[in-house]
Amino acid sequence: MDPPLFFSRAMASIYNLFIINKSGGLIYYKDYGSTAKLDTNDSLRLASLWHSMHAISKQLSPTPGCTGIELLQATAFDLHCFQSLTETKFFVVAESGAIGIEALLKTIYELYTDYVLKNPFYEVEMPIRCELFDLHLARLILRDKSVLV
């Protein structure tokens, strides 16, 4: 049963997904097909690095009201980041030029609020270990992937 309110159809697959908490700690990491799988230490390090970069980018803004990096474009990939009002950041590494990733991130955020935050055994800001979240997330991502095949 998929209750996403946003109908998201990402037109290209994502390589991996990170979720970091307000203080920059990695609470969820899932790899969906990058050639170089990151081990735990690396993923933790990169997540903290991204958290700092996100914060510094706010300082360098030439106009007031900056909320941080939303899209980072590189030669081999694009990185999309969504920050919730509670400063939890969801970011995905996707193919260059992928569309629909913002909607995908919002859907992931909804799954997060439904299956993680509403889980009475989950402590906020801790690593996510919720089966239903994993299940629905896998279904969401693989459904989008199977569209391309």
Binding site: P62, T67, A74
Partner: protein
């Protein structure tokens, strides 16, 4: 078009040009140092998080060329000699990689590097460079 930074390999800001900037959170020196540091870290972050690297490094490591926030978009280019050109613009602007290349090869190299009075590695102030830059930037808007 908001502002432009040019850094050399050692992190020294060779040029800082501002067109429209309503907020400067830090002093110019701190701002430049922070900018350089952040770009350096972002480059190593990009190389590490690259999902398609073959791991053998026979091709050049992946580097980022732009990032966008809700208030600005930053465009970045690094040349082989370590000169980094950064442009901060409105977030709706598209890809400016060719423009940065043009700024480097036709404006920076022409008016600064070829200037016999300029010693490399020092901040420069060159009227011809400023004029050419302003003129080129106007054509982009």
């Amino acid at each position: 078009m908001r502002c432009l930074y040019i850094f050399n390999r050692n992190g020294m800001c060779l040029h800082y040009h501002v067109w429209l900037r309503s907020l400067m959170t830090l002093s110019p020196q701190q701002d430049q140092k922070l900018m350089f540091g952040m770009l350096f870290s972002l480059n190593s972050f990009t190389a590490k998080i690259d999902p398609v690297s073959s791991g053998k490094e026979n091709n050049p490591p992946c580097s980022f060329y732009s990032f966008r926030t809700n208030t600005y978009k930053l465009h970045f280019m690094e040349t082989a000699s370590g000169i980094k050109i950064i442009l901060l613009t409105d977030p709706r602007i598209g890809d400016l990689r060719e423009a940065l290349m043009h700024i480097y090869s036709n404006i920076y190299v022409e008016y600064v590097v070829k200037n016999p009075l300029y010693s490399p590695g020092q901040p420069f102030r060159c009227e011809l460079f400023n004029m050419a830059l302003d003129h080129y930037v106007k054509t982009l808007q």
